[in-house]
């Protein structure tokens, strides 16, 4: 029972990080109907910026976080303007290849700047030693509380942005029906750029949260492959169009992976992700929370 509790807590903490990545992918999917494979590369790159500031130059955790999030905004906006805009109306697969090219480019660029050789560690924001419950220690620490809270705050802020502000209304309109939105005077192009920028900033947060747990810190410069795939899996489970779905998908994935890891085998984590995904999609081919019909990639 204690083990079950610990596994659940561990799953929640991991799941929130997957949820943040999934949210970023959902943002971009809603805005441009593109699955952004470069998300992993973008979050890796911004995480390294923060790492460079915090660990090499001993700058405060929060300042480094803010700079990385800012860098995310810029990278996202530039990527959309420079790379995605020109292929948006071309064959849909082209966008996939372009984001792939960007992923590889960022990976190489990070390697050039920071080297591929060292493993990097990143100071978490708070202690990672678990809380005590009686004479036992929970697998849930102040840092986990921080992760869960941070992602929840982002979710709430995004919800308010989308539902309560006119900017959010325009973003939704541009996402669901760009041509109609344009006819109503919405500057759709700018909103798409903004959507990418926010997504990349969100990715930066997810990357730093992951880096501060054991999950991310051994990553050297690399594509953050697993984080992207789990994020994507979570987003697809949730239904790609739905921010709430992304969060629930992320949590579901995190918790199930945590159980399966411990109760079945910890060598085939990626296989579980596939099985969960297939199980969900066979019952609901458009994910748990999707409303509009899927279009082609």
């Amino acid at each position: 029972m204690f083990r079950f509790l610990n596994l659940t807590l561990n799953g929640v903490s991991l799941g929130m990080i997957y949820a943040a990545v999934a949210l970023a992918l959902v943002m971009i999917w809603r805005a441009t109907r593109i699955v952004n494979f470069a998300q992993g590369g973008m979050l890796m790159f911004t995480t390294f910026i923060a790492w460079d500031l915090a660990q090499r130059h001993h700058i405060n955790y929060w300042v480094a976080l803010a700079v990385a999030v800012g860098a995310g905004l810029v990278i996202g906006a530039v990527a959309e303007r420079l790379l995605v805009r020109p292929v948006e109306n071309g064959p849909p697969l082209n966008a996939v290849i372009v984001t792939l090219g960007l992923l590889i480019f960022l990976q190489a660029l990070a390697g050039m700047i920071w080297g591929n050789a060292q493993a990097h560690s990143y100071s978490p924001a708070y202690s990672i030693v678990g809380y005590s419950a009686g004479d036992r220690t929970l697998l849930f620490s102040p840092n986990d509380v921080y992760i869960v809270t941070a992602v929840l705050i982002v979710v709430v802020v995004l919800y308010l942005l989308f539902q309560r502000t006119s900017l959010g209304l325009q973003m939704r309109a541009a996402a669901f029906s760009p041509e109609v939105a344009r006819l109503l005077g919405v500057r759709v192009g700018r909103l798409l750029t903004l959507g990418w920028a926010i997504a990349a900033a969100l990715g930066a947060l997810a990357g730093i949260l992951a880096a501060g747990t054991q999950t991310g810190y051994v990553q050297t410069v690399g594509p953050f492959d697993a984080l992207l795939v789990y994020g994507f899996t979570a987003a697809v489970i949730g239904g790609l169009d739905s921010p709430i779905g992304a969060v629930i998908g992320g949590l579901l994935l995190g918790i199930v992976l945590s159980y399966a890891d411990s109760y079945v085998s910890n060598n085939i984590q990626t296989m579980y992700a596939f099985l969960i995904l297939i199980a969900v999609l066979m019952v609901r081919p458009n994910g748990l929370f999707s409303r509009s019909a899927a279009r082609r990639v």
Binding site: L93, I97, L102, I104, Q107, I268, F274, P285, V297
Partner: protein
């Protein structure tokens, strides 16, 4: 061109295939070991990419996980090679490759049935997770004794006939396979099956109204393309002397996709061009270019080939959105002075 060739597509394709094999044999004979060791991967990539073209370009589905089918082909080859030895090495080779094709095709049918329910990004997500998940099965405790864990299974390269060196023999095996695959798929896409693929791609509803079973056509497309990937996997096992999870990373699946988009989606020739481009870029060109730049920093030099690959991927899509085939088409249009409408 004689009238009979004008009329019979099958005959024409067969003739071209024979000529192609002849030309390739001549080429292989004249290439050195190093060039042959690059030709072989190009050829097996062509097999997989051509199959993927049937799926993505012609039936309008997507797979980000074709590496998984290659893995099935490779593991089938490796497992059977250990169990079944034939007195005649060539019979054994053909048998093992065929087994890889069949098992991969069956596996493709299973995936296809699930895939027929999914569209667009959901299918993309499922196949992506498959590409990452399936190779990890090799490390599952209950299977790792049979599948060799993360190290994988060893494969022995078939002995060449006397007088042919090992590099050439591998090139011959791969190139002949590639030509056969192209021959088969070209005929298939000209047949009723190919037309039904395209009908489903262009408009599922209209295809269904014409009496096609959309799901069945989509499953068939998966079977065909998985079979081709299975063959490619078997060939990969021969060339790399291994069937292991590390040989089928996500990047393999994605580079296959890049190859067919590069070449120009939907065409067999495009799949061939694209494969050449992607494999050579990866194996050689990016490195050569880096060496020419003579960079002093090790960090920069180590990552330069990767960066060149990424930049080429993105720039190619921006410059030639319809791939090599599309660019050629446009050139031809310019040359003949006709306009595309």
């Amino acid at each position: 061109m004689p009238a009979i060739l004008e009329r019979s597509t099958l005959l024409r394709h067969t003739l071209f295939a024979l000529v192609g094999i002849g030309v390739l044999l001549l080429l292989i004979h004249n290439l050195g070991d190093y060039r042959n060791s690059q030709l072989a991967p190009i050829a097996y990539t062509v097999c997989a990419a051509a199959g993927l073209t049937m799926l993505v370009g012609q039936s309008g589905q997507i797979s980000l996980g074709h590496g998984a089918f290659m893995a099935v082909g490779a593991y089938t080859f490796a497992l059977l090679q250990a169990k079944w030895t034939s007195s005649h090495p060539n019979v054994q080779l053909v048998g093992l490759l065929a087994a890889g094709v069949v098992v991969a095709a069956v596996f493709g049918a299973v995936v296809g049935v699930a895939a027929a329910r999914l569209r667009g990004p959901y299918l993309a997500g499922a196949t992506l997770a498959l590409a990452l998940g399936l190779p990890s099965l090799a490390s599952y405790e209950k299977l790792s004794d049979h599948l060799g864990g993360s190290t994988g299974l060893n494969v022995t390269s078939p002995n060449p006939p006397t007088g042919v060196n090992a590099y050439r023999w591998q090139s011959i095996i791969c190139c002949v396979s590639a030509v056969l695959v192209l021959w088969f798929l070209s005929n298939l896409s000209r047949s009723r099956v190919g037309r039904s693929f395209r009908a489903v791609r262009d408009d599922e509803v209209a295809a269904a109204l014409c009496g096609l079973s959309v799901a069945r056509v989509q499953v068939l497309a998966f079977v065909v393309s998985a079979g081709c990937a299975g063959l490619a996997g078997g060939l990969l096992a021969i060339i790399n002397l291994t069937a292991g999870p590390g040989a089928f990373p996500l990047s393999l699946s994605l580079s296959l996709l890049a190859a067919i988009v590069f070449g120009g989606l939907g065409s067999m020739a495009g799949a061939a061009y694209g494969s050449v481009l992607v494999v050579m870029l990866n194996l050689s060109w990016a490195q050569t270019l880096t060496d020419k730049l003579s960079i002093h920093s090790a960090k920069v030099a180590n990552n330069m080939p990767l960066m060149i690959y990424g930049v080429v991927l993105a720039v190619a899509m921006l410059a030639a959105p319809y791939g090599v085939q599309g660019a050629l088409h446009r050139l031809r249009m310019l040359a003949t002075g006709t306009r595309k409408s």
